[in-house]
Amino acid sequence: MWSFFHKLGSPPWLFGIAGSILRWLVPITLIALAVGICWGLLYTSPDFRQGNSYRIIYIHVPAAVVALAGYYVMAIAGAVSLIWRMKMADIAMKSCAPIGAALTFLALVTGSIWGKPTWGTWWVWDARVTSMLILLFLYLGVVALYEAFDNKAAASKACAVLSLVGTVNIPIIYKSVDWWYSLHQPATIKFTDESTIDPSMFYPLLLMIVAFYGLFTCAMLMNMRVEILARESRTKWVRKLVGG
């Protein structure tokens, strides 16, 4: 167990293992994405109320789900880096933030595109949209804080603290925004009633969510490999690797 932990702390080992995971994870993710998109867009029946426009959920929902999960991945990596002072956890945490921000942004954009035919407007201050927007701010805060520090070791620690603060706050923010929305919109129709989703629509959605998790992991591992090379650029093994 401990030797595994020590290996995790070793940059060349992590660089290598991330490389070999990517070798099979990238093809699997791509296949899952392709199958999921074709299945969702071509082979499911249109929704009786929303017609074909609902099909954007095959992008929107996975992006939103993984964006939120990504914040917790980031915070856990941050906690590991603070508690066990593991440099590689720093790198994992730092690599999550831009991907999470991109997925949150994707969820907001697809939600907005979906909103136009459904609600007749590009933007509504609905509880979920508002919460996603705040999540985007939280991610951008972490990215901005990291960039503001010259000392990257300190930057990682500061971002770890910030993401842990965020972890405590996200449930509070979500509950507050939910409550705020219900106060100001007492009797609106729920547009996305997921409990009644048809199984024929649900299975491709599930596949897409899994594929997005794969996508997140791939992007994170690639990001980590770049960051490892950048931080270790002076060491022998990197010089040997790049043939310099």
Partner: protein, 228 residues
């Protein structure tokens, strides 16, 4: 000669911060002046119709209070960082948790409490009904405590950076949002004659949680900033 107990040390820090603030009265006056000036902006932007201003008053007052608090948080640890006092604070034998809480407490007394006390005046200028004044002051009193604690987290993380001013808003504004929601809802409830108690209770719960957890984050942030 032994080191003072944590409580006595904290009392000393609070007193020191208050004396420092009193000797630079502008620091105390600035948030209040800011509050007054932004209140004056809203009739200019929205038009002077009293019923419209009164309708938006709870939200307006809370947003201004929040911004006033935000702008003053940046300075909580900055002068101590610049002159080296912060290093000495980190080396003190007393727990940093308690020291951080004392700094925030002093900041809250100077900004939050004063804002809460003068808020009825500006609320009157915006036409907020008299029956909501007490709720406004109470909600600001509780809410600004949370704001100061969260602001302290941002301040501790950015104190070592030369240009932390704008960054701190980006970091902590998302965490201010729940306070804004319940703070303005409390005032809104009081305006409509409903019971504002539950909202104030939620603000109190947020304050309790923030008192328990925020100083931990502030202490960690200060150690990181001094180390960098």
């Amino acid at each position: 000669m032994s080191a003072p107990t944590t409580f006595r040390f904290c009392a000393r820090l609070v007193r020191r911060q208050l004396v420092l603030a009193v000797r630079r009265p502008l620091e105390i006056g600035n948030p209040l002046l800011f509050f007054a000036m932004v209140v004056a902006l809203f009739p200019l932007g929205l038009g002077p119709a009293p019923d419209q201003l009164a309708r938006f008053a709870p939200g307006i007052l809370w947003i201004i209070a929040l911004l006033a608090n935000l702008l003053s948080s940046d300075a909580v640890f900055r002068s101590d960082f610049d002159d080296g006092s912060l290093e000495q604070l980190l080396l003190a034998p007393q727990p940093l948790y308690a020291a951080a809480l004392s700094y925030i407490f002093a900041h809250w007394l100077i900004t939050g409490v004063l804002l809460a006390l003068v808020s009825p005046l500006f609320a009157g200028m915006l036409g907020l009904p008299g029956n909501a004044m007490l709720t406004l002051a109470l909600s600001l009193l509780l809410g600004s405590g949370v704001l100061s604690l969260i602001g302290g987290i941002g301040a501790s993380l950015t104190v070592g950076l030369k240009r932390g001013g704008m960054l701190i808003s980006l970091l902590i504004l998302p965490f201010y949002m729940p306070v804004l929601i319940f703070g303005s809802a409390a005032v809104q409830a009081a305006v409509t004659g409903a019971d504002a108690g539950p909202y104030l209770a939620i603000l109190g719960a947020m304050l309790s949680l923030a008192i328990a957890l925020a100083p931990l984050a502030i202490a960690a942030g200060l150690r990181i900033s001094v180390d960098a």
